[in-house]
Symmetry: D2
């Protein structure tokens, strides 16, 4: 089957899916004034593949077949670099907001392949492969529901007072299983075709019912999506040049006795696989993450340079110092992302980005993002939160006043365009969204640090220290 168009993708969303927004059932996601914006943002993924500029990057030809390049199994560093570039390009087209309707799903599929491949569980391998072919051949979009609602974070799944705090099997039938519980922070669920459900943590003995992985179409009975209205929009594109047209939506994803046929169950009752899945998926997904963060960082650096010029302060010493820091920060993330691909590990012919380097890139991104925000706000000025709105700007009476008085070293229209870009990126709903994502998406900073701690290979550094200290490395150094 050929690649789908954006229109075909959107048409495919018109089904029986059960989505709620602001307390009400949504009859049609595509036609909804808010969710439709998100769906059309996501459809950029399909537009790119139609666009001659990006087609080489976005479409992959294998023999006579052509499919979305997201589904290409990476075999080399170059494949990983291409995947990273594709994600970066899609996000730049999405105006710094990731599209995320194939990236994350393929991350999950590649992760499941690896975990089940290592385990050798034949049924699971075959079912993952079947889903992969189904999605690839039909050019489908996929969400991944991983983070459970978790209840009391100090308790394990089986210790929770309500067993539904982690998604679980409530019944096994001949044809499949029945699952209940809820996931949270599930991105794009209302406007994708399939949802893959993965465990969110390591499990132990007693956690069997919560140790499962499966996939279902979004329009499956019992699956209820409660969409967040956090990015509820406005029509003021003057002050929100990005977020008026670009948004992503997360759901509380409730499984109310949802039936999943066996051919969609990758494994069940396998605490030993749960932690490996959670970890492997995140390892992959963080490479996606650092790839899609790059346009956001570029936009911040570029906007900082532009506003410094627009304000007439770009020659001041402290301004150059801040711009240098910003550029160094952004390019360290980019460099480490590139390096994670170059240092990839091959396993069963599949190239996996280097785990330590990927996490180092993500950690570098996450721990200084708020400082980057502060720096850009510092260069821009208080006008970020005291400036005029679109109705002022469009008023024939007020506009001349603003044009006269809000000019800097650049005319007011150009200066305010950059100012509002920064305001959208850093102070309004979209800014808050990106700030929280920096800290929490694809795992918290603490999770990244744990991943680094586990993945760090201390052999060279310990060997050197022991040699310099005149010591054998022997068992006591372990």
């Amino acid at each position: 089957m050929a690649l789908r168009t954006a229109a075909q993708f959107l048409a495919g969303l018109r089904d029986t899916r059960e989505v709620y927004y602001r307390g009400e059932r949504v009859p049609s996601v595509v036609d909804h004034p808010e969710l439709g914006v998100a769906a059309r943002h996501a459809s950029i993924d399909y537009e790119i593949a139609e666009n001659p500029i990006f087609r080489g990057l976005a479409a992959h030809r294998e023999g006579s077949e052509e499919y979305s390049a997201y589904y290409r199994v990476p075999r080399t560093s170059q494949d990983l670099l291409s995947r990273s570039k594709l994600i970066e390009a899609g996000t730049a087209e999405g105006a710094t907001l990731v599209l995320l309707i194939k990236e994350i799903g393929t991350d999950a599929l590649f992760a499941l392949k690896r975990v089940l491949g290592r385990d050798g569980y034949a049924d699971g391998i075959q079912r993952v492969e079947a889903l992969y072919r189904h999605c690839r051949n039909n050019d489908l979009s996929i969400a991944v529901a991983q983070t459970d609602v978790k209840g009391d974070r100090s308790r394990r799944p089986s210790e929770q007072s309500d067993p539904d705090m982690y998604v679980r099997v409530v019944e096994k039938r001949v044809g499949g299983i029945v699952v209940s519980g809820a996931k949270i922070h599930t991105s794009c669920t209302p406007y994708v075709d399939e949802v893959i459900v993965l465990p969110s943590r390591s499990m132990g003995p007693g956690d069997e019912p919560w140790s499962l992985a499966f996939a279902i179409p979004v329009a499956t009975p019992g699956l209820r999506l409660y969409a967040s209205d956090y990015l509820h929009g406005t029509d003021d594109s003057f002050t929100r040049p990005i977020s008026t047209d670009h948004k992503m939506v997360e759901t509380l994803t409730v499984f109310d006795n949802v039936f999943v046929p066996w051919d969609r169950v990758f494994y069940v009752d396998r605490p030993d696989l749960a932690g490996a899945t959670a970890l492997t998926f995140v390892e992959f997904h963080r490479f996606t993450a650092v790839s899609y963060k790059l346009p956001l960082l570029d936009a911040l650096v570029g906007a900082a340079i532009a506003i410094a010029k627009a304000n007439g302060i770009d020659r001041a010493g402290h301004v150059r110092d801040k711009l240098t820091w910003l550029g160094g920060y952004a390019e360290t993330v980019r460099g480490l992302t590139e390096l994670a691909a170059l240092r990839c590990k091959l396993e069963n012919g599949v190239a996996y980005p280097d785990v330590f380097t990927t996490n180092m890139a993500k950690w570098t991104f996450a721990r200084d993002f708020h400082r980057a925000i502060e720096t850009v706000q510092d260069l821009a000025g208080g006008l970020l939160v005291t400036g005029p709105g679109g109705k002022d700007w469009n008023s024939p009476e007020v506009r001349p006043v603003l044009e006269k008085y809000l000019s800097g070293a650049w005319p007011a229209d150009r200066r305010m365009a950059i100012m509002n870009l920064i305001s959208d990126l850093t102070t309004r709903l979209y800014g808050g969204y990106q700030a929280v994502l920096a800290v929490h998406a694809e795992g918290s900073i603490e999770a990244e640090k744990m991943a680094m701690y586990r993945a760090y290979d201390p052999s060279r550094s310990i060997a050197l220290a022991m040699r310099l200290a005149g010591l054998e490395i022997g068992p006591a150094a372990k």
Copy 2:
């Protein structure tokens, strides 16, 4: 005259003032759906003085007269501490948002007194004193318009291509002067009685027309206020527990050939006084600033502790580490603020907070505020930007689902109340507003550093270093 009530204050705003909002002239500020919220927030200043709990702090009795304690001229450390406590209490009643309709005005009046007192300009001194008595005796509210629109920041006032980039005298008449130009970031202008206009920078030869200070009633012909709609509200108090009812409004404050009678002109054509005024006002005003930042910091610390408990993570080592940092940050600001009052300098019987210590408090606040935001977001979780809205919460169908799945170690209603408080404080419009204010209000971080550099007394440290190095301190050390 007695203290005014909140109702009297609001009634006083019904005059001919020329205010624009979203491109349209506002017939009545008090009755306007957005500006009215801001005016009522400001009126808390008057409510406090009526409240027996705060009256001792908010009202000052001098002989038979009673007036607002903001107008009390501080004579001792204790007076400054009381002033600081009053500002802190008002801001806490304002739900972390400063009221700022008397604080800033009295900062300006005390600063003018000092600058003109040092200079000995008798006319100016007398006019300031007259305005002070007028405002105090009639319990008036005051805005201060200081920051000019500035045009190209790399040029001085007289070098700008448009001379109106800094407010200036365009004509002198027998009865007064005529001024033109515009100020920006003027807080509360639409809903106060008077506005004091001060220079925003040092001036030199050639800058005479821009070197003036004066005051006028807001309802003066030619004064036009273009209010920012940045904090334009919503009615969703579930997700915005603070900002639904509390807002402050800034204006682009345009002077279109405004006539100012001589008895309201403090000085004109005095480049030598301009810089001193700008600096002295900011020195005072930063003491106000660090006082009003304290409830915001307390709210962040308290919310962080609460959400850590609500999520069930408060016993984790890294969580305690973060809470300790937050507490240490907030209390360092509080401690230095207190110390700035205790170390006050007396001049002509007036107590001025110590400049170095005040700036050190502000600098401490400003340079770590974004890190504080990051820390609180880290503890709270992604639900800050993926959670339900008020309409979800109020839906009888959806509410039970949310109550079941969004509980943590605390029930969902309590957990979400704290989560939304944090969201309002850090991720939504109000959060962005506070973040930018942290960096820019009352002067940028660079301005605070310059103030510290100037105010630092190096005599003890240089003397010690020279003695330890075996050197005389002589002229070469200067």
Copy 3:
């Protein structure tokens, strides 16, 4: 009895004490080429009291008695401020190196008073009081041995494979107890009169033998002091203007079946008192610590200013930025120290510095000290570690070459004097000593954070957050 002179103090050290240095028993500490330097440095404590400039600060008159002001029990904030000033003055006379032969001992005595007073253990109270009077009336010097050698840090005292890893009672006799084990990092032990021994951690059931506090004269049989040669000196005062004449010495303090008579045992077998003692002592001692750090910080700031001038870079923007940061850092520590005294708590008529504020001061000092070092080194230049030595400087042939080529904006002799001061403070043995002390002395940064976490009063911040969130504070917030 009157205050002793420095000569009397030094004469008092000539006794049977058992001190080892570089593997050899030291016959006379005072006459030893290295330990004698340290003893004479310590004797500055006595010189100060003889010096008219400092006598008012250093000597306290109570009725007809006069005694060292270190022994004055603080009753008010002013007493604590005076104590702090005395410590600061002594350290400045000691060229940034604390004297520490009465500060720490009185910290221990005041701490024991409080702990035993709360417990009501009459025998202990009386013995502490007796020791206090003995030391005060005879103007004695005191070391405090607290930190045990600890063995494996992951095990409690009773879990160690060798029970001597914490000092313990090995036998109880009619006349007293016999103790064994070792303390480490004990400052000044070789050249004081008495040593007070305190537990270094909280103890639990099973830890009784390790739960004791006592004091003995240094010249007690079985007490062996192994002095560190870390600060072993040179005679090159050109490159070490401070450390040629000023040093402090720490010992491994071994108790080899030392007999302690009952009147010197404050308590024994009291796990419940051990933790309280350890904590209370450190609370006091950190106030001493932040007081004695101030001259070190002043010296760094002063030297930084001087070297910037000497190099001719003091007008560069980044240099001013760095100097401002340094000054702000130093003055924040000073300000919080002052505030800890002003916020003192009275207990049984004794004034204790505020625990949270004291720890905040120490934490502020410790976590940025290395950055301060970096900043000063940055301003000074590579000459810190590539410059000439004293023999070059004193060579008639080489000196003119150095004077010609090592001049900057200041002549070479003045520039090199400051350069070497900075080198001694930051790059040589003394610099390393101060850097490690910043991190570890009086407790590590982690210990300071734990103390802050425990001492923080969250009631105001939680109350505000709960009110803003519309919640009752009820039990769930606890």
Copy 4:
């Protein structure tokens, strides 16, 4: 000619060179108790090439010729990676101290090739080529004297009160030029064969006499080397496991009317080439720098891990956090160094490491080195500066006491070996040396930031920001 042996190298140093140490002329560098240590450390460079393990890395065969791999002109990323590995390996053999007797010289030669190649100055190109062949074919060692003594940093060369503050031409003769002045911080000068002299800054009109580059043998009349005694050694290898046997020496390098024949003068009177040379050399040399910093970072990370285990604290949360940070810091520097080679630019067939990436690596290294020091000291403990010396350890009487009481989770001998390694690396003379080098060697942090600012290509980020803001990039964005 074949590669020389270490013995041949050392024998070659026995000539008429004029070296001073501690005020006295040194008759033979190799036989000098201090300088000899440094010379033997440097000779590791030659030993490596004799060692079969390293020979493949250290020796390069080109046709029938074999020469030191330092002299290989890099043509590809792989060549640069090999060069980096060679530098890293040499430094690891040098126990974290770079050898620097060929690295820096070839950096200078490659830089001169590029600068003169761009300029097309045929005489200069030919002379550089001749020197390159001479050094390569005779396997010579080279120092580079770049940093001038500079006098008052706020003045240019021609503005100094003494014209010798920058090295300059004082006379031109038929056979060559005569130069005077002095350089500072010249590494390894006393024990290399040749010294290349480069300008240290950009020059302008009027600076002609100071705008020159040349090379001379160290044993040239009038060249006087005043060696710093900063790293003057001790024989206590217990407490200084590295620095007892490894040291580098810097000189004040004085040119007292030194005659340089024309074939050793690369250019003279060329202000236009001076800045380009200074910059290009430093660009190359920083790639050397980040390569040789890696073993130092590895040693810190390895020692930190080892001491955490030795102390028994490696399972504590805050310890893991600190180790993770250390590892992330070290590996970011390593990753960016690798990337600088992978992103090399080809010019005239020569591969130059990417300037922005190289500087980013160096900047990353430099701005967190002191924090790394602090972290390692934090994990190690106060014993770094209060522990026993070698004479204690070697005393039959004291040793058993130390073995008993200084054990941790590791026995005392192993624990103290790591402790002393850390003490040598961070607190003693060698530690101070490395700390200052981190800030100043190969340019200060400010210099690295300036290099980053200049080398940053803003086109992608500005283009994205302008597009998102709806603006053309036109001239106003420039």
